[in-house]
Structures are given as structure tokens and as C-alpha cells.
Amino acid sequence: MVRFIVRRLLLSIVTLFIILLVVFALTRVFPSDPAKQLAGPFASEERVAQLTESLGLDDPLPTQFFRLVRDVVTLDFGESFSQPGVRVIDLVRPALWNSAKLVFLALMITLPLSIVGGIVAARKKDTIIDRSIVSFGLASASIPDFVSGVLLQFIIGVQLGWLPSISNAPADAGFFGQLEYILLPALAILFVYFGYIARITRAGAVTALDSDYARTAYMKGMSTSEVVRKHVLKNALQPTVAVTGTQMGYLFGGLVGLERVFNYPGLGNLILRAALAPDFPLLQTSVVAVAVIFMIATLTSDLIIAWMNPRARLDVGEN
């Protein structure tokens, strides 16, 4: 187990290094000169040259890349280009926290609903209930997040007036008050993931319900719900856990469109802003944050699976 974790961490470092290289290469070929942009359209040549030097943009590329790696290792990301004097970390931290709130609420709604949906579909396999769940899931999961966001905002936020349709909670709203304001974007995430997770859970549950151990449990006289609770869930949920882990990167950094619809200051929004500015330190730091979250999430989901299934412990050790 320890060997597995160490191996995974080492591979994560390799992955992170490649990501840094990609991000670095992209930011270095940006057509616009950030120093010129920062200095403003009427700045003198000297001012631009001075900025270029102070930002280290005229250093050789390997030096600049090494500096980026050092910043990541020491967790010191420097100052923002677009907001001079503001530390990048102070811009990323609140965005990360906002994204975390949204992801937390979305998963609190999505996971139970889609797991129940998947298990119900598996138990009623090939009936109209099964088909409706699977078809609804397929349809809703196909729709881009920002499109479901716009549709939900219109129907639930404006037409029905059930929920606030913008995500800016009043300053005096408590933690739960804030959650109410992000319920609509969270519902849009439910739309995206319900079908996907329900489908994976259904497939896992169908296999588990058909298995020898489930049959043995039935023969011991257990009721169906007991069999599901005690034997099926633990096995059926392993793919669900794996999938949830792999989607964390998208949930934290990929909801650029959805966050724009609700004007939500999450990481996706920050990344869009940083790319358009362009603000290299901010962009690099937020992308690294997304990558690190992805790594932690997939490692955690692997560990949860290993804990759920002793056989998987052997498998992950091998791979």
C-alpha cells in the first residue's frame, strides 16, 4: 500500500512537470507583450523595457521555466501581472474556495440522487423505469453546462422564481444563505453528471446483483434491500468513486461557461480572466491548482476503492 502511494505520488510529479512545461510553452508564445500591456498604451519605451526586466521576461527561456518550477515547489507564485502589487495566491485562494463551495454543494446533490437512480435502474432493469432513467440521463448529460445553466436560470430562477438566479449572495448571508445562491449552478452540474454517474452505478449494480455472492445472500433469506445495502452497494460503487475522482479537475477548472452564466467568481472564471488579460503568473498558478486538485482527487478515489475492495489493493499495487 505504501509502495502504491509513493509510486502514485512520483508519477504525479512527472505529470505536474509535463503540465508546467505545456503551460509555460503556451504562455511564452502569447502574441501580446505583457510588459507593454501592463505599462499601458502611452508608456515610454524605457518604462516597457524596465518592466520587461523586472518581470524577468528577457531572461533565457530555461531560466524562466526553472523559475516557474521553483515558484511551484516553494508555493510562492509572485505577483499578478494584471493587478500589480496583488499576490497571485490572494487571487487564487478565494476563487478556489468559491469553486470548492460550488463543487461541494453540487456533489451533495448529485451523488446521492444519481447513485439511487442507478441502483433503481439496475433493480428494475429493462423496465420503463430503467429506460426513463437511462434516457433522461443520456439527454441531460449531453447538454453543455452553460446551456443547462441558462435553461435552469430561466425556468427555475425567473419563470418560477424559486431560487435566486444570480450567484452573488448578499454579504451578510451565512454559509447556508450562500449555498442558496449557488443552488442553481449546482443544479446545472446535477444535470451534467446525473446521467453519467447513474449509468456507471447502474452498470456496477447490474454486475453485482448478478454475482454469486448476491445470490448466496438471497438464498440465506435476505431481502432485496438488505442485499443491496450489505453486498451490492460496496461493489457497485467502486466505478462511481473512480469516476467522481477523475471529474474533479473539470468541476474545479472546467466550468468556465457555467460560472460566466451565473457570474460566479470561481476558478474557471479566474482562468478565463487570466488568459484574456494575459496574466501569466495568475494563469500558471490557477492551472497548476486545477492539476493538483485532479491528482489529489484521483489518488483519494483510488485509496477509497482499495479500502472498499481488498482485491483492488492487489491490482493497484501491480499497476
Binding site: L16, I18, A141, I143, L151, F154, G253, A275
Partner: protein, 307 residues
């Protein structure tokens, strides 16, 4: 939208197909096609998709208004921001254009860019996956690590960075999406090829002294075409998603006044609060119906191949 990793199921389908002798392969294909055309979800998907394809080829068939033509009533007055009614079925936007005409004309951007990028991604991913899965070794190991790294970041995040860097021309958008989808295709193809490469027919071709290129193209490739077709249809769905999102973020291809669903939603979504919902809701429904139709088709094809 999520990325469904169904490489395992596809590999299974591919290898069972390869077990069948070559003369049976044709009848299997025919039966699969028959089964596909009898699947209700495939028919529904195909009908909706055909409608949008028709819109992108001959938009004039469905509307008398142009995409940038301001609706004028008989007395010459214009009617911007008017709700759905007799003069404009889907209402008019802030300029006074017909939203219905914008929806019809908006189909082509997505319907040209998405399939082309999916096709390039599948071709590039097939070449990469075949090479990696057949030769294995150090190159495979290195490429696999790069693929893992790229797949750990959301596609849209990388796409928006690349498009900001290289500009939002059509060719940049198509190639960016193709490049970002290539790793996931390569991974799927690689796993299919890896299991094919262990089968007897590949072994006997090797013993015959065939070249690696011949074995990959003539022996393995025909047995993974199902994987590639499924992969293509699935990728088209994701490509539509990405193209539309880029447009919505203001990074779409070409001229921003041309009708485009993503652009039109971006221009209209803030007006939902003030009651002018039709400007953004109709293009939103258009995107939704298109991606649902593509996914219905992809799902039916996958089911038929894996059954």
C-alpha cells in the same frame, strides 16, 4: 459534459469481432446495420440531426429573413426586443433580427467545425494508438505519460488558452479541438490494439515475417474500425460542446456578427432577468437538441457494436 471512459467495453467488442472468420464479417456488419436502423433512439437522433444538417446547407429553405437582416414591418418600422409572435415566431433580438432566422443560420458553425475536428482527432489518435499499442516500449511509456498529463486538465481550459494564444480563426479552433481530443482517442485505440496484438492472427502475421506497418494497417486496423466509429460519434458530441462553449466565451471562430448559437446565448443571457428570455433560450434549446441527437446516435451505435 463528462468524458466516459468506455475503452474496456469497446476492446471487448473489437476482439469478439475479430474472432469471427473474415467471410462472416460482412454479414455481421449487415446485421448490425439492420439492428441500428431499427433502434428508436437512433431514428430520433438521426431525424433531429438531419434537420440541423439541412439548416446548415440551405438555411433559406426555412426562413425568409437573413441572419443579419433586421425585421421591418409593412410600415417600415423595426421591432427589436419583441417577444415571440406573428411577426417573428421566436421573437427578435436587441438589434431587431429574427431570432428564428439566427437559430437556423447558426447551425453551420458548429456543424462544420465539430465533425472536422472529431475526424482529425480520430485519425491522429488511431495512428498514435496503433503505434503505441503495437510497439509498446519506451516511446509508448513516454507518450502515455504525456497523454495522462493532458487528460488531467479539462479540455475547455486548455482550449481557451490555445485559442487566446493563436487567435480565434476557424483553423485554430478546429486544430486545437482535434489536438486536445487526440490523446483520449489514442488511449482508447491503444488499449484496443494492445489486446488485439496478443491474438493468434497477429502472431502468425509476425511469424510470416510481415512488416510492422503491414500488420498494423492490414491486420489490426480492420478489427478496430468499430472502436473508431464509436469514438468518432462520441467525439463529435464533445466537439460540439467545446465549439459552443468557446463561442459563448467570445472565443468562437470568425466574424462575431454571424449567427452562432454560443454567441447569441452570450449576447442574450443577461436579458433573461429582465424578461427577454427568447433571445438566449431558443439558441440554447438548439444546442441542446443537437447534442442530444448526436449522443442518441453515438449511444445506439455503441450498443449495437457491443451487443
Amino acid at each position: 459534459m463528462t468524458d466516459i471512459d468506455n475503452s474496456g467495453a469497446e476492446t471487448e467488442g473489437a476482439s469478439s469481432g475479430s474472432m469471427a472468420p473474415a467471410q462472416d464479417r460482412k454479414t455481421v456488419k449487415q446485421e448490425q446495420r439492420k439492428e441500428l436502423f431499427a433502434t428508436p433512439s437512433f431514428i430520433i437522433g438521426a431525424v433531429i440531426l438531419s434537420f440541423w444538417v439541412l439548416c446548415s446547407i440551405v438555411p433559406g429553405l426555412f426562413t425568409k429573413w437573413g441572419e443579419n437582416e433586421v425585421i421591418r414591418l409593412a410600415d417600415g418600422s423595426t421591432i427589436p426586443r419583441t417577444g415571440p409572435g406573428a411577426n417573428a415566431w421566436f421573437g427578435t433580438d436587441t438589434i431587431g433580427n429574427d431570432v428564428f432566422a439566427r437559430v437556423i443560420y447558426g447551425a453551420d458553425n458548429v456543424l462544420i467545425n465539430a465533425p472536422i475536428s472529431a475526424l482529425i482527432a480520430v485519425l491522429a489518435g488511431a495512428v498514435l494508438g496503433l503505434t503505441m499499442g503495437y510497439y509498446r516500449g519506451l516511446v509508448d511509456e513516454i507518450l502515455s505519460r504525456i497523454i495522462e498529463a493532458i487528460l488531467s486538465l479539462p479540455v475547455i481550459l486548455l482550449a481557451l488558452m490555445v485559442v487566446v494564444v493563436f487567435g480565434n480563426s476557424r483553423i485554430v479552433i478546429v486544430l486545437t479541438i482535434a489536438a486536445l481530443f487526440t490523446p483520449v482517442v489514442a488511449r482508447t485505440v491503444r488499449s484496443a490494439v494492445t489486446s488485439e496484438a496478443q491474438l493468434d492472427y497477429v502472431m502468425s502475421a509476425k511469424l510470416r515475417g510481415e512488416s510492422g506497418w503491414f500488420i498494423m494497417m492490414k491486420e489490426i486496423f480492420p478489427n478496430i474500425t468499430n472502436v473508431l466509429i464509436v469514438e468518432f460519434t462520441v467525439r463529435v458530441g464533445y466537439a460540439i460542446f467545446t465549439v459552443a462553449t468557446l463561442s459563448f466565451l467570445g472565443l468562437g471562430a470568425g466574424d462575431q456578427s454571424a449567427a452562432d448559437w454560443g454567441v447569441d446565448i452570450a449576447n442574450g443571457y443577461s436579458l433573461i432577468q429582465s424578461g427577454q428570455w427568447w433571445i438566449s433560450i431558443f439558441p440554447a434549446l438548439a444546442i441542446a437538441s443537437l447534442v442530444i441527437s448526436v449522443n442518441l446516435i453515438a449511444d445506439s451505435i455503441e450498443k449495437v457494436y457491443n451487443s
